[in-house]
Symmetry: C2
């Protein structure tokens, strides 16, 4: 029986999404238009994402720093494309300490400017390089339409910014960090992504090129989920980041940046969750096991305490629901919150020497002996759930992946069963614009490794340059 507060996903996907966010208490709107309150259940997911990624970043040689939240207009303007890209959606501080500022400052929409300014002060020699820094921060982009986690005026993210002595090393960094994201999505979020290079039109303002990880939501809509940019010397020339190279000549440095955001929480919802609420992959779930004692038998309470202790000792996050509510209510709540495994301990089961395990992904329940090795049973189940979610999402993604040869086929697909559409492209922005007329479809990325499909542009028929994956986007 589906949760009554949640609209059916197949009936009204947008409403379903909002209902899941509300029912699981992930976030709520605030008095600040377009800005979210991230509630404890939502923030706990973000903390798990943060700690996991932070470890991956540190293992790949990155260090954390913190840059100011404000950027003076003049500093922002040094790199022309960047300011053009972000000025329309900037929020500007014009008054500080009761006085009109001499120069207005914007709340960071991204921090290439501040990092570059800092790097221009500290980079002197090739011996100082590379500098591989990251920051966890809030950023602001004055969006018109907002949706919880997917698009809001303020959001939380990490932004890596690195400087290198050679183009090759910076390009390797750009690629490696894309790999870190791909791995994180696969191994933790259980989301299969496609990766590739953005077209000129879709790349980040100021980048030489942008690599991207793109995920497909349950309804066939694409979500740009993380990007890794190669800047070459664009910023180093604008911000004067020079170093003495090994030949003792001054050279402009090579830079990258890369980021993922709280938007990933939206992806988790739209890829895995269902009409009963959140479904969280065990590797990212803040709580992996909820233990629900049924009735107030002291033997049951003892058993619950034992399981909790044993599981926690084994590094599994487990918690007894000690609230005074009905078992049915407790089951439904564990479901709506997406807790991967539920252990139910009831009198009847216990008379048979058993307890019940319930998995959130398939909603199956089964009994095990109360004396079983509960750590092993739960670990196996968590692994199975993690694997099943990835397999399920991959199968769905594959089912919604199409290879089209003509514009008619393209239009028919997007108008009936949208998804990732593979089609050849000549590289002409006009053909890209023509495709945008189909329900706003944009290029997700160029797959640089896949062979061409027909060899001809799906729009104009001229010789194709790229195998492109297209999609409707959030």
């Amino acid at each position: 029986m589906a949760n009554k507060k949640i609209t059916s996903r197949d009936l009204d996907f947008a409403q379903w999404y909002t209902d899941v966010v509300n029912a699981a208490h992930l976030s709520s709107y605030s008095k600040v238009k377009g800005c979210l309150v991230i509630e404890p259940n939502g923030y706990a997911i973000w903390e798990k994402m943060q700690s996991t990624l932070d470890k991956m970043f540190k293992e790949t040689g990155h260090k954390n720093v913190y840059m100011p939240v404000l950027i003076p207009e003049s500093l922002m303007q040094k790199e022309g494309e960047l300011i053009e890209g972000f000025a329309p959606e900037a929020a500007w501080v014009t008054i500080g300490g009761s006085k009109e500022l001499e120069e207005k400052m914007c709340i960071r929409p991204t921090s290439e400017t501040l990092f570059s300014d800092y790097y221009s002060n500290v980079v002197k020699s090739y011996r100082d390089l590379p500098l591989k820094y990251n920051q966890w921060a809030n950023v602001m982009r004055w969006e018109k339409e907002t949706r919880p986690f997917l698009r809001s005026r303020e959001f939380l993210w990490q932004e890596g910014h690195t400087v290198h002595a050679t183009a090759a090393e910076a390009e390797a960094e750009t690629k490696n960090m894309l790999g870190v994201y791909e791995k994180f999505f696969r191994d933790y979020l259980a989301i299969p992504v496609i990766t590739g290079r953005k077209t000129e039109k879709e790349k980040f303002a100021g980048a030489e090129y942008t690599l991207t990880v793109e995920a497909l939501m349950y309804n066939g809509v694409s979500l740009q989920s993380g990007t890794s940019h190669y800047f070459g010397q664009k910023f180093s020339k604008a911000y004067d980041i020079k170093f003495l190279n090994k030949d003792n000549n001054w050279e402009y440095a090579y830079q990258t940046s890369w980021g993922v955001t709280t938007r990933m929480i939206g992806a988790l919802i739209m890829v895995h969750s269902d009409d009963d609420g959140l479904v969280l992959p065990p590797n990212i779930a803040p709580l992996q096991v909820r233990i629900i004692p049924i009735g107030d038998d002291p033997e049951i309470a003892n058993l619950a305490e034992n399981y909790e202790k044993t599981l926690q000792k084994a590094g599994i996050s487990a918690e007894i629901d000690k609230t005074e509510r009905s078992p049915g209510f407790k089951f439904a709540e564990a479901e709506v919150l997406g807790v991967p495994v539920r252990i139910e301990i009831g009198k009847r089961d216990l008379e048979n020497g058993q307890i019940t395990l319930a998995r959130r992904d398939t909603k199956e329940k089964f009994q095990i002996s109360k004396d079983a090795n509960v750590v092993r049973e739960v670990e196996n189940l968590l692994t199975a759930i993690q694997g099943n979610l990835l397999a399920r999402a991959t199968a769905r993604r594959d089912k919604m992946t199409y290879f089209v040869k003509t514009l008619e086929e393209f239009e028919k697909t997007m108008n009936t069963t949208p998804g990732f559409v593979h089609a050849d492209w000549c590289g002409n922005p006009e053909c890209e614009a023509r495709i945008k007329e189909i329900r706003g479809t944009k290029s997700r990325c160029i797959d640089e490794h896949a062979p061409l499909i027909t060899g001809k542009c799906v729009v104009c028929g001229k010789p194709a340059k790229h195998h492109v994956i297209w999609g409707i986007q959030y």
Copy 2:
């Protein structure tokens, strides 16, 4: 031999502080006036503070959330004292998305307003209470004079905000969180603090009362290092946070807030550090042991790798300095960064079957057998250093603590050997103002447990109400 880049602490304390910040690469100024870049070495200390405190907060039942960075003016104005207190130093956003905003919004100087607005939406019944939330965030206060970590326009902090069904429970929370801070300062930062209640003049705008932890710096100047506020129903009445109590009557809720900031990094410097740079207590040091192989003997390299692995396995943070610089340079760098323990492995020592351990706090060096239980040796040393730093800081604090009976004594003390001055006070703000004429001395806190000293106000001679601790402040 002291670090050449660092001015002597006894010669020019302010310059010494700046020199330590720079030499240890903790932070640097940015193009944004009054805002810091927190560099990797500084941020790593903050991360250690964060993870330690976050664990303590969670163990005491708190959950993390995230509130918007902007506060609409109208929301800010609901509680009169708060806006009065913070308006003069607010930074205001007046333009968003290229348009003048209908209502200006300030960058949060603190988030009582947003938390209260949120709580007014979600608190309905005593069953919902308590709500014990915290957030890690950046805040902004448009200060005129700034100093790295001690006072800057933007800084990082945590702010806990809780709602309770009874005054007693909220007051207990206010006190408990002060206790958490006191413990954190003592057990991790090795800083002995005094605690007590702020006077009406010094309390937080909008609070019923403010409890504080105050630390004494090497030069006798006080640093307000953390505060815990009891709001009673002030904010709940202004923001309409009502709940149905157990008697089924509507009642305004009781609130608290409490916070500590990146200022604690400044305290670490000014309490423990010396003319050779940072001195970090082992319990808060991002790196506890630096292993320095001298020369490129393969036996030495192997030994270094072994120690590193063994120490890391035991949960000690250890790292080999593999850079190509002279041993002397490496020793000095480990010192300036405040690494508590250095392991030096050199050919001569090794011929005697020995290695050298150096401790940062006392600069003592001694030899141990290369086959000693290095984990135990290092653990003992780290414990000894942690203990010594606390003992040293406590002895210094005690030496700079004075009990005075007359205003003449008070003035003489502050003009020669400032520190924590204990003196009785009648409670009259005019007497408090008179004391401020002595080098800006302010009341640090009222010690509610200490007996009166003379029973008479140190200024006016009238009957005293409070035993107050006074100090010059940062």
